[in-house]
Chain length 350, copies 2
Amino acid sequence: MHYREWIGSGERGDTGLAVTMRDVARHAGVSPKTVSNVLSGYPYIRESTRLRVLASVDALGYQLNLSARNLKSGRTGIIGLAVPQLSLPYFAELADAVIQAADQHGLTVMIEQTGAVRERELAALARPRGHLVDGLLFSPLGLGHEDAEQLRISTPMVLLGERIFHGPVDHVMIDNVTGTRAATQHLLELGRRRIAVLGTHPGELVDTAVIRHDAYAGALDEAGVQPTPELAMPAGRWNRAAGAEAMERLLASGLKFDAVLGLNDTLALGAIRVLTKHGIRIPDDVAVAGFDDIDEARFSSPTLTTVDPGRGQIAATAVDLLVARMNGDDSEHHEIIAPFELHRRESTLG
Amino acid sequence: MHYREWIGSGERGDTGLAVTMRDVARHAGVSPKTVSNVLSGYPYIRESTRLRVLASVDALGYQLNLSARNLKSGRTGIIGLAVPQLSLPYFAELADAVIQAADQHGLTVMIEQTGAVRERELAALARPRGHLVDGLLFSPLGLGHEDAEQLRISTPMVLLGERIFHGPVDHVMIDNVTGTRAATQHLLELGRRRIAVLGTHPGELVDTAVIRHDAYAGALDEAGVQPTPELAMPAGRWNRAAGAEAMERLLASGLKFDAVLGLNDTLALGAIRVLTKHGIRIPDDVAVAGFDDIDEARFSSPTLTTVDPGRGQIAATAVDLLVARMNGDDSEHHEIIAPFELHRRESTLG
DNA sequence: GCACGTTTCTACATCGGTGTAGAAGGATGA
DNA sequence: TCATCCTTCTACACCGATGTAGAAACGTGC
C-alpha cells in the first residue's frame, strides 16, 4: 500500500464505462479484429457484416482509442505546429491556415508556443511530444546557424518561414528578399528617398530581420540611393509596442525621413500609431509599408501597404509536403518559395 | 499479400530505431519496471540506481512513449482547447494565455477550431479526440440552449466565455453584463445619447450578442434614454470586415448617432476604419467603444476605449479548475466571473 | 536468533487496438 | 473430381508502458 502515498499514483479519471472493441465485437457477433477491419476500411468484408458492426458501434457509442492504435501502428493522426507566439497576428493567422489545411487531410494539430526562445525551440525539436505527433511543422525564430544540425530529426518535419538553414530539411519559405525589395521599390517609386526601417537586429548574422534588412538595402543601392544607417531602428520583438517604441526613438533623434518600412506589419502599425499621435500625416509626410498582410492591415487607419507572403499557400503546401513525408516519401528535400504579392494601400497612396 | 494493396496499410514511418524502456533497463542493468519507477518519481529507489538509470536514459536518448503510458494509465498530459477561430485576435490571445497556463501544470494544449459552427462544436464535444485529451476547455459560440444536455460529457470540461448554459458544468465567464453596462455608461457620461450598437444577433435567444445587447439597452434605460432600435446593426461574424460593413450600412441609413458601441473590438475597429474613411472625427463627432481589449486596441488610431475581460485570469482560472477536475475533484460545479476593467482611450476621450 | 517492518527491486499480467498467418467456404478452371 | 484462387473471417502475438503482488535484503528490538 505504498503506492497511494505518492503523487504519481492515481485511479483512472475515466469512470471505467469505456466501451472497447471487444464489446462492439460481442454485440455484433464477430471477432474484435473484424471490427478493427471495418473501422479501418479493409475491403474484404461482407456488406451485411459491415453494416451490423457499424450499427453496434453506434448503439454502444464506441470511441476508438487512439493511444492503443498508435501503440501498434505508430500513427496518431496528429501533427505538431511550433510557432513563436499565437498572440502575434501573423502566427495566429498562420496557425488558422495550418489547422484548416490539416483538417483536409483528417489530421489534428497540436500547437506549441516557443516564445522564439532558442531553448524552447530546441526542446520542441528534441521531444516531438512522446511519439504523439506523426510530423512537425516548425517555424523557428530563435535558432541560429549553429543549431542547423539539431534539425536532423527522425520525425518528419517541414520548416516554415525563413530561409535560415540549409541542409536535408524541407522548407516552405516566404519570399523575403523579393518581397522586401518590392515594398522598398514601391516606396522609391513614390519619390521617397529617406526610408527608415523598423525592426532590425544588429549583430545577428542570419535571421528574418537581417534578410529583409539586406533586401531593403539592396533595393536602395540598386536605385542609386545612399542608405542612412541611422534610419535603421532596431527592435527585438516584432509587435506593436516595439514598433511604437522604435518610432518614438526615430522621432526623438530628429532625423528627417519621408517613409518607413516596418519589417513586419505589427511594427508598421505601431509606428503608424505614433506618427498619427504626433500629427504627422500618412502618407503625405511619411509613407508607411509593412510585411505579412495580416487582416488588420486592411482595416487600420490608414490601411497599410504591405507584402502578402501567401500564408494560405504556405500552410497548404507545408502540410502537403509533411503528409508526403509521413507517408514515406524520401525524395530529395524540397525548398519551396511561396509567391508573394504587394498590396498598395492608403499608407503609401493616400 | 492483400494488405499492401489497400490504403490503410503502411509500414511505420519511424525507422524502427526507437529506444524503449527495455533497452534502457538492459543498459542500466535493472528491470524495465525500475526504469518506469525512476521516471515517474516513485520514491523507494536507491540513489545510485536512480542516477544509473537516468544516465542510461541520457546515453540512449530515450523518449518515453506517451501512447503506451496512456494506454495503461489513462492519462496523456494533453488538454484540448476548442475555440471558434484563431485568426480572431481575442481567441488567439486567449489561446496564448491558455497555453501558458497549461505549461505551468506541465500540460500540452491541442487546439481545435470549430468555426463557431454548431455541428463542429458538437463534434468537438462528442469526440474528445479518441481518449487523447485528459480534459477540455471549450469556448462555445454556435451552441444554443437546446444543446445544453450535450455538455454532460464524461471527460472533464470547463466552459470559457459566455454564460449561456446552466447545469452541471464549470464555467469561467466574462462579465458581459456589467462590462457592457460600464462601457455604455461611459458613453452616456460623455453626454452621448444616440449610441449605435454593432454586432447584434436579432432572433437569437441566448448568446453573447444578446447578453451584451441587453446590457447596453439596460444601461440606456437606466439613464432614462430611449433606445432607438434602428441604431442596432446586426453582424453575424464579429470581425473587422463585418464591423466595417455594419458601419457602412449605418451611415447609408442616414440616421444620426454620436457614439458607437462595438460588441467586440474587431467590430469597433472595422467601424473606426469606415468612420475615418468618411472623414468623421473620433471622438468629436462619434465616440467609439469596444469589448475584449485586444492588443490592437492600444495601438489603433485612435486608440480604442474597451472592456478588458481579464483574459489572463480567465485562462489561468479555467486551467486550474480543469486540472482539479482531472484530479478527481467532484465538488459542486463552479461558475466563476472574472473581474473586468474599462480602459478609457482616445476613441472616447480624444 | 527470530519476528517484524522497511527499503529496494523484479516478474507478470494487462491496457486496447492491429499485423500476421491461416482457416473455412465458395467459385473457377482443367 | 480435384487443385487453385478469391472472399470473408478469426486466433494469436505483440506494440511499450504501468499496476499489482511479492521476493530479497536490510535493519531493529527483544
